[in-house]
Amino acid sequence: MDVREKLNILADAAKYDVSCSSSGSNRSTPKGGLGNGCQAGICHTWASDGRCVSLLKVLLSNACKYDCAYCVNRRSNDIPRATFTPKEIIDLTLEFYRRNYIEGLFLSSAVIGTPDYTMELLVKVAKDLRTMHRFGGYIHIKSIPGASPRLLHEAGLYADRSSVNIEIPSDKSLQYLAPEKNHESIYRPMNYLAERKLEYNAGGNFSRYSPRFLPAGQSTQMIVGASGETDFQILTLSNGFYRQQQMKRVYFSGYIPINADKRLPVITTKPPLVREHRLYQADWLMRFYKFNYDEILDEQHPNLDLELDPKIGWALRHPEFFPIDLQTADYEMILRVPGIGVKSARLIVSGRRFGKIRLEQLKKMGVVLKRAKYFIYHPDTPASLRRLYPEMVRPLLVQQSTPEQLDLFATAPTLTLPPLTSPSLTSTPSN
C-alpha cells in the first residue's frame, strides 16, 4: 500500500475529531530548522463544511483493538485498515509544511497492541520531528489512556498540545457504549499532564532556553446527542475541565450516526447541529465573556434554547439589569449585552471617555443593534423605552423563518413550459 492510499484511509478515519486549532504556542524557529508556532493560530483552508483546517490531521493507525459503539474505527466495522510508519508521517508533514499547506501535525491513533506500544510510536514521531528534523511547527498528540507516565511526560516535552477525548459526557453512558473504557482511565492521563504542566510553569521566570511542557495546554472532546445528557450536565463537566484540568478548549461534536447499533440513536438521525452551535456559544460565554456555567443554565433550565442564543437567554431571564447605560456601565456589564462583542465593548469603553456614545456611533462601530437595542439606552432613547419587558422582546428576537425568494425558473409542475414542438405553438401562425 503506498503513502497516498494510506493517507486517504487514515485522514478519513481521523476526520471526526473536531479539534484542529493551532493556537497557543509561540515556539520560535529552531536554529537551522523549519517552522515556528503562531500564538493566535492560522487557518490554512476551510473544509466544505466550513471547518478551519490548519493541521495535517491523521491517525497513525486505524487497526483498533477496542469496540466502541460510536466510533468509525471500532474493530467490528468492516473498513480498510492501514498503518503509517513514523517516517512516512514525518516526510508528509515536512513536505506539506514547506508548501505552507499546514500549520503542523495532529497525530492520533487507534490502539494497536497495547496502549504503551501505541503511545511509543506517537512519541517517536514527535521526537524525530523535533530533534532530527528541527521542526518548530505545531504538534498535537493524542494521549492514549492507559499509557505509562514516562511516555506521557516525553510527549509533553515534544508536543505543543495534547488531548484525551472524554467522548461521552457521563461515565455510565460511556461504559455502556464503550465497554473497554471508563472516565477514570481517561481522567488519569489528563490529570497527570495538567500536574506536570503546573510543575514546569511553577518557576514563573522563563528564559527562552527553559524547557517547555505542552505550551498550548490540553483539550478534550465530547460527543453530543449520542446519549441522554442535558446541556446543563455538559456545561458543568466542561466548566470542571476549564477549572481543574486547566483545559484550553473543550470541543463538542454533534453525533453523526455512522454505525448501526441498537445502543445508539437510529442511523437516519440528523446530527444535532443547532444544539452543538448553541453549546459552543455557551462555551464562548464562559471563556471570553466572564459568564459562569450556572448563570447560563441551571436546574430549572437544563437545556439551551435552540431558538435564541444563550446570551439573549440570560439577558431575558434577568430584566432587572437591563437596559444599561452605555455611558456609565462596567465593561463586564457591556460585554453581557446581546449583540455587543469583545471588540465593540472595548471600543465603547475607550471611546466614551471622550464624548457621549450615541446611536449613530454604535452603528458606525458595527454593533449589532438588531439585538442590542432592547438592552441598552443612550442619550437618544425615548424615556418610554428605558425598561425591558422580556415577554414583549422575546418574539421580536426569535428569528422568523426567512421569507423565501421565489424562483423565476422553478421546476414546479405549474410553471413548466410546454415543449416548443407542441402542436398548439406550430399551428397558431397558420391561422
Partner: protein
C-alpha cells in the same frame, strides 16, 4: 482653484504631500496616487505633482508620534495600504484635526468621526493580511525555490513578509503579488523586491507534484458530508481566493459541488434547447 495633487503611490510619498500641504498652505481638492494614471483633463482641479522627500516624511512621522502615538502612525500606514480611493483625504482630514490642537486628547480617541473609518479600514487590511498567511501556497521549482502567487484585495505583501521570514528562515522562497506586479524574494539571508514580467512562465511546464496531489486528496477526504455548509465555506474562504488554492481550484466540477450552479435554472435551460 484647488489642486489635484499627484504623488508616487508610496506612504512616504503621501506624507510628503501632507508636509507640502502644510508648508506651502496648498488648497487641496484631491490627492491621487500615480498608479491610477488618469490623464483626463479635470475642469475643476489644477494638477500638481509632489516629489517624495524622505526627510519631510520622517519629520511628519515624528510629529504624528508626538501628537498621537506610535500605534496611530502604524494604523494610518496600514489603512493607507488598503488603496481605497479617497483614503488619502480621510487621513489628511484626521491629521488636520490632530494638528489643530483644539482637543489635546483627540489622538487617543478611537471613536472620533475621522478615526473610526480609518480604524475599520485598517482592521480590514490587517484581517486580510492575517488570513493570507495561511492561504499562500508554495510550488516547488526545479532549483528548490518555493514560489507562490497571490492576488490580495489590499496591498498586504509587506505586512506578511516577517512571518514567512521567521518560519522559512532556511529555505529560499518568493511570494508574488500578481495584481500589483511585484513580489518579495528571500534567498536564505535577505529579502529582495522582484518584478517578473510574465508570472505564469515561472510555474509553467513543471511536472505535476505528488505532494500537491496528496494535499488535494486529503482535503477531499476530510469533508463530512452530513455537515456540508457551502455558505459558511464561502464566508470563511471567499471565492476570490480560490484561484490560487490547489485544493479549491475553480472548475465546472467544483462549481457543481459547492452549489454555484442553480440546479433548477440549469434544468430549465436544458429543457428549452432540447
Amino acid at each position: 482653484m484647488s489642486l489635484s495633487i499627484q504623488y508616487d503611490s508610496t506612504f512616504d510619498g503621501f506624507l510628503s504631500v501632507v508636509f507640502e500641504v502644510y508648508r506651502q498652505r496648498l488648497n487641496v481638492g484631491e490627492i491621487k496616487p500615480d498608479r491610477l494614471d488618469t490623464q483626463a483633463l479635470d475642469l475643476f482641479f489644477q494638477p500638481f505633482w509632489v516629489e517624495t522627500n524622505l526627510d519631510s516624511a520622517r519629520r511628519l512621522k515624528r510629529a504624528i508620534v508626538n501628537a498621537a502615538s506610535e500605534e496611530v502612525l502604524n494604523l494610518l500606514e496600514v489603512a493607507f495600504r488598503s488603496e481605497t480611493s479617497g483614503i488619502e483625504m480621510n487621513i489628511l482630514s484626521y491629521l488636520r484635526k490632530l494638528f489643530a490642537g483644539i482637543d489635546p486628547n483627540y489622538g487617543k480617541n478611537p471613536t472620533s468621526d475621522e478615526m473610526l473609518p480609518l480604524f475599520q479600514t485598517a482592521q480590514a487590511v490587517r484581517r486580510e493580511a492575517g488570513g493570507m498567511l495561511g492561504m499562500v501556497r508554495f510550488t516547488k521549482l526545479e532549483d528548490g525555490t518555493y514560489f507562490s502567487e497571490i492576488e490580495p484585495k489590499y496591498d498586504i505583501l509587506p505586512l506578511m513578509i516577517s512571518h514567512f521570514r521567521g518560519r522559512f528562515a532556511n529555505e529560499r522562497w518568493a511570494i508574488y503579488d500578481s495584481l500589483r506586479n511585484y513580489g518579495m524574494y528571500f534567498d536564505g539571508c535577505g529579502i529582495m523586491e522582484i518584478s517578473i514580467p510574465d508570472v505564469k512562465s515561472v510555474t509553467a511546464g513543471l511536472p505535476p507534484d505528488a505532494i500537491t496531489q496528496m494535499w488535494k486528496d486529503f482535503y477531499r477526504t476530510i469533508a463530512i458530508k452530513e455537515r456540508e455548509n457551502p455558505r459558511l465555506l464561502r464566508r470563511c474562504l471567499p471565492v476570490r481566493y480560490w484561484k490560487h488554492l490547489p485544493e479549491r481550484e475553480v472548475g465546472p466540477a467544483s462549481w457543481q459541488e459547492t452549489g454555484w450552479i442553480n440546479p433548477s435554472a440549469g434544468h430549465v435551460r436544458g429543457a428549452l434547447t432540447s
